[in-house]
Each structure stands twice: as C-alpha cells, then as structure tokens.
C-alpha cells in the first residue's frame, strides 16, 4: 500500500477534528491514572486548542470524545463563534478571537466542564455494570472516526473558502479486533477525502490500526515516551499545519504493522484466505464467503497449494 501524500496548500488554515479517548479503563486501570490524570490531559488539551486557534484567525477545531458507551461532539469552534444572535450571515468564518464568546466563560472552562460531564456519565455507567452482561471495555474508535469524517464532509459542503481538514486521534487503549473492519473503512474514506490522520498514543502500546491509518492517509504517528508531557509533544508534531509540513521534518515511523485481522474471528493473522470477489480475509477455508456470498465449488484445497499468502508490505 503506497504511502498517502498530503495535498499541499499555500496558506496554513486548517480545520482540525480531534478525537479524545475517555475510556475510564485506560485512565484508571492501566496504571496511567497516577502519572497522568484525565484532568491533566484536559488542561493540556485546552492549551493546545487555544494555541491552535491562535495561529490563524480562520482555524477551526471540533472535538469528539470516544468512550465505551458511545461518542459525542463536545466542542465546535465554528458554532461558538457565531455569537448569541445569528443575525449576520457573512460573519460565520471567524472573528479574530482566540477565546470563545460563549457566555461569560472562556473556551477552557467550557471544554473542561463538558469533558467532565461526559467522563462522569461514562464512569457512572461503568459502575452500574453496563446494560446487563459483560461491561464493554473497548472504545468506539471507529465510531469516533466516522463522526469526525461526517463533520469534515459537512464543512466541505459549506461556504467557501474552506479550510483544509485534518484529524488528530488521541488514543490510549489497545486495538479492538472486532472494530477492524469499521476502522479500516473509516480510514479508507479519510484517504479518499485526503484528510490526514495524526495519531498520538498515550497508552503504553502501539496500535496497529492507527499506525496503518496514519501511514495510509499521510499523517504522523507518535507515541510519546512520557505522556505527562503530552502538551510539548502535541506542540511539536500535530500542531504543524499542512503547509508547514512540506518544510519541517516530522518523526518517521519505526515500522508499520500491516497485519490484517480475519473477518470471521477478528484475530490478527499473517497467513489466510482471501475471497477473490470482495477481498475479504478469512483464517480458514469456507465454501461461501460471508461478506459477498460468492460460492467456491472447488474441493477443499491443501493449504500449501490454495492459500494466498498475504505478505507484509515493505
């Protein structure tokens, strides 16, 4: 798969959609709570968002939280700049403020209070044991990505001039294999829309999905060794707008894990079977492809003869 290229612009206006992971498991259970609490993360996010909005008066930002119970939009800079009365039609693309005009509070307090509300709702549901049965421990990463892309599409259909869209994923939990298909679909849509996805991993491990996402869409993947200094990492790498990326060096990915997951059991596999019609991947042979319904009339072949080897890309 070829490395995605980022379309270049002559100015540095951009629309950034940030997906924040607020899964209580990673904040409490994976040992991050001690060194790096969610409050600290929120504070650093506020500074980062303020500095991003300050860079250019037309910069826009939207923040989506991804949790175990669902995703939600919690902030949209374009909407909050409209002011209490929407009388002026042509004023929507931005006043010069780095600070929102909403009510009497600044952007910081709005963001903090909204995130707090979503987090406490999630924690409440977690304590209540979920909707019966095993509580969901995985974050809806694909849901957040899809919501972000829908927002980008909506902006692209808005009035010109449009800023260049890009996404930033702040993620901590390990990959959820059952979300492989949905995440890959979201990623290919981003590639088509030419929206680069930057990734900042704050958990302890790499995420194969997000590595592939960053690589394919032409974004930057980063796993800061010290997550409590998140702000500095954010200011160094994802703050670069698409124009400046042509001129500044970015951290190169050490290596991308291109392994796929099978569609039937969601296990990561190196070697598998591929349907010749719809290209879905299976770990074991079956007569009928479950995705497209194509029927294979051949007798069950030996693994050596019939298996198509899925090679990891160089």
């Amino acid at each position: 798969m070829a490395q995605g290229t980022v379309p270049s612009r002559t100015d540095d206006v951009s629309l950034m959609v940030i997906t924040l992971e607020i899964n209580p498991y990673i904040w409490d259970k994976h040992g991050m709570g001690a060194a790096f609490s969610i409050q600290a993360m929120v504070e650093q996010m506020i500074i980062f968002v303020n500095s991003y909005l300050l860079l250019h008066h037309q910069n826009q930002v939207a923040i989506i939280t991804a949790g175990t119970e669902g995703c939600a939009y919690i902030f949209d800079s374009a909407a909050s700049k409209q002011g209490p009365s929407n009388a002026q039609p042509a004023a929507t693309n931005g006043s010069a403020n780095g600070v929102s005009e909403e009510g009497e509070r600044g952007i910081g307090s709005i963001l903090a209070s909204r995130i707090q509300r979503v987090v406490s709702e999630a924690e409440q549901k977690w304590k209540d044991g979920g909707s019966g049965g095993e509580p969901n421990r995985t974050t809806y990463l694909s849901g957040a990505l899809s919501m972000a892309l829908c927002y980008v599409q909506r902006c692209l259909r808005g009035p010109k001039p449009q800023p260049q869209p890009r996404m930033l994923c702040i993620h901590g939990s390990p990959d959820a294999p059952q979300q492989y298909i949905a995440t890959m679909n979201a990623m290919f849509s981003a590639q088509k829309l030419q929206v680069p996805i930057d990734v900042c991993m704050i958990g302890g491990q790499d995420s194969a999905f997000l590595q592939q996402a960053a690589h394919l869409t032409g974004g930057l993947y980063q796993k800061p060794p010290r997550p409590e200094a998140l702000l500095q990492y954010l200011l160094m790498v994802p703050a670069m707008d698409l124009h400046s990326r042509q001129f500044l060096l970015a951290p190169r990915p050490a290596g991308v894990d291109f392994r796929a997951s099978c569609f039937c059991h969601k296990k990561t596999i190196d070697l598998g079977f591929v349907c010749s019609v719809c290209l879905s991947i299976f770990c074991q042979f079956s007569r009928e492809c479950s995705t497209c319904g194509a029927v294979y009339t051949m007798a069950r072949p030996t693994p050596a003869a019939g298996a198509k080897r899925k090679e990891p890309e160089a």
């Binding site: 100015d11 303020n50 500095s51 860079l55 008066h57 600070v99 009497e104 600044g106 160094m236 001129f247």
Partner: protein, 454 residues
Amino acid sequence: MDFIRYLSELPPVKLDRLYESHFTCQAVLRSLPPIAKQYVLRLLFIEQPIAGETMRGWAKPEALGKHNAAMERLDQLRVLLETGGKSGKKDASYRLNPVFQQQLQRALSGAIGPPKDPLPPALASHKPSPADLNAYALKQWESLLLFLANAGAPGGERRGDQEPSKMIKGLLRRAGLMGTSDEGGVRISDEGFRFLLMDLYKQLWVVVREYVAEIEDQGLDGAQVTCFLMELGFYPLGEPHGVNRLSSLQKRVVEDLASVGLVYIQKAGGQSCFYPTRLASNLSASLSESSTWQPAEGFIIVETNFRTYGYTTSPLQIAILRLFTRIEYVLPNLVVGTITRESVNTAFSNGITADQIVAYLQQHAAPQIRQRVPVVPETVADQVRLWERDRNRVQQSRAVLYEEFPSQERFAAVVDYARQVGALLWQNPIERRFVASDGRHDDIRAFIRNQSRT
C-alpha cells in the same frame, strides 16, 4: 506588512514594553510566517536555550531558505533572543523573549480573556445589535471612501453627503492619497486610486498606520496606541466596554476611531461605552499577508463580452466601477457597464494597474460566479493586461551613443564599466557602438579619458 516593519524599527526597550500586553504578543504571533509560528509554539514552554544547530535541524534540507527567513523575522521582532554563543552564528543558542513567552503562556492557558465591563443600565436598553454595528461601520467607512472617490470625479463636485472630519482629511493627505489640484482644491492622487481598489484590510491598515504616525508626530506615545489597537482586535464583537477605565490617550483614540467606523460610541446620561465593530475585530486578523476573508458579499459579474453587471446601490461601489468601466445603464438595483479600451486607458492614466483591476473584479465577484474557474474570464483579464502593455509599446529613454572606438579591447572595457554602473542600454560589438543612459554620461566620459591616458 508595514506594521511589522514599524515594530521591528522600534528600539528594543520599547518593543519589550509592548510585549507586556498579551494582546500584542498574540497579534505578533499571528503575523509571523507559518514556519516561524511553529518554531514559537515549540519553544513556548521551554526555558533553556536551544542551540541554533538544533533549530536548523527542524527544517528539511531543501527548506533552508524558509528556515533562514523565519529566523530572521523572529530576530527582527525580538521574539527570539540570542543567548551565549561566542563566535557569531555558529554556536549561538536561542530562547524566546521571556516577557513574550510569559504573556503568551498566560493567554493560552485561558487565564485571561478580554476585559468585560458591566453595561450601565441607562445604555442597556439601547444596546445595538450586531446588524446595527455592521451598518454603522459600513456607513462610516464608505463615506470616507466615497469622499476620496468623489474627489477624483471630474470637477470634484461634492455629492452633498457628510464630509469626513478634518482629522480624516489630514490622514488621507498624509498617506499621499490626496493632493492639491491645480485650482487649489483637493483631488485624489494616483496612490489614492490604487487605494480605492485595494481590499478592505490593506485599506484599514494604511489609515491606521498613518494615524499612529500622526499621533507620534504630536509627541504622544505611538507604542501605547498600537498596543490599544491590538487589544481592540481581540475584543469580542458587539460587547460593550466602558470608556472610563481607559487612559486619556486611549479615550482620544476611541473617538477618532469612531469617526472612521472601527468602534461605535454610545453616550447616555453622562456615561459612555464603546462597541468594537467588525472592522476593529478583524484588525489583528489582517496582519498576516495571506488573508482571504471577504468583508461583504460580492456584487460584480464579468462576462466574456466585456460586459460588467454590478448588483449594487452603494454610491461608493458605483463610483469605483466608474473608474475603469464605461457605465451604460443605471437601474434601481443594477449597474451595467462595459470594459472598453478607452475606460481602461483612463484608469491607467490615473495610475491604476491592470493587475489591480483584475484583482478587484476577482475579489468582488458575485456569489453566483465565484465557483467559476477562473472567476474573471481569461479573455477579459488578458485583454486588460494587453491594453496596459499597449501603452508601453514604445519606450524612450534619454541616452548617449558612443562610437568610433580605436580598438576592440578599449570598447570591451568601456562596455564592461557601463554594465557595472548599470547604465548600459544597447551595444553592438561588430560596429563598436553602444548606448548608455544619460545620467552616467559624465562617469563614462571620465572613464574613457582615463583609459586613453593609460
């Protein structure tokens, strides 16, 4: 941007004092080139100096030119200070100006926002809506431009609208936009015509720059005024601010700005407050060179048959269109004109360039045709440029022709000398003749005499 040049020419102490206002810091950050902005962000929370080599390593090898330009700009504005380093630039290390850094950190953490004043009850009932503010700003600004445009109309007749104040007239004259005409009245200058066709931001900044210069000439503190203007740029739109907490200089500035349309003053019962309008809010936005925001809806449609349709009733816009098109019909909501060679030549003789005309048509294109690529048809744009070139078809320059050189070496030596001083216009080595501009004739003659002596 002239404002940046103004800042970089201030003495360091004054500049540091300016940076004590976090609004100025934010405005300066916005005006930097993109790479410089990134560098500032990276150094924002770092206290120790960073080696120059490290910073050079941040840029890709092929982008070294941009890196150097960014570093130079940061140095000019004293945002980046050099610390340590003995032998010039090799091992210099840099850090952010501490005052600048501190103010920016405070601003970014959201700890401080623009000041909010409670509205006195007497004025609360008459709070103007954003639409009112827009209308006021537009009216004031347009009356200023209309005054300028009408002064350029033949005969310079006043159209009976309110004349701008003496201060504004003084500003316009100072900026070189108006001059005295032969009969002793005022008429618009070439620069003034160019000014009319500029986009709103550049116009605003020309006026503001002249205003600051005027204040300085009167012996008052120009830096404080600049600070206040930066602050205005960050105030939220349509929010009242009390006049009482301003210094006397700032109060005067507010009144002057009201006559231009940047703020709206409301007075009732002995108290007054001012509202920044959209023009003021976008002051800080326009600092960077690449601002593509359109202040008002476009209204011009240009067709490939050179017809222009302007859907407007504003006398200012009609006056501007009259500068370079031949108006044919004036309807209640529409002005139809044609771009002809004659009309364009009139514009050229007034000092307007073809690029300005095309840029104006592009910026004010009506929304229906904004999607078209290119916005102005190529036929029209090319033809306007060709008409401009037509005026320069024959170029004349006062010159001196030199001939009858005794030898080829002598000829070559004199031609080289002429080329070095930049006077060589034409030469023919075979016939040993060359032409040089008249201004350097004495130097060349002296050189030839010297040559013949040796």
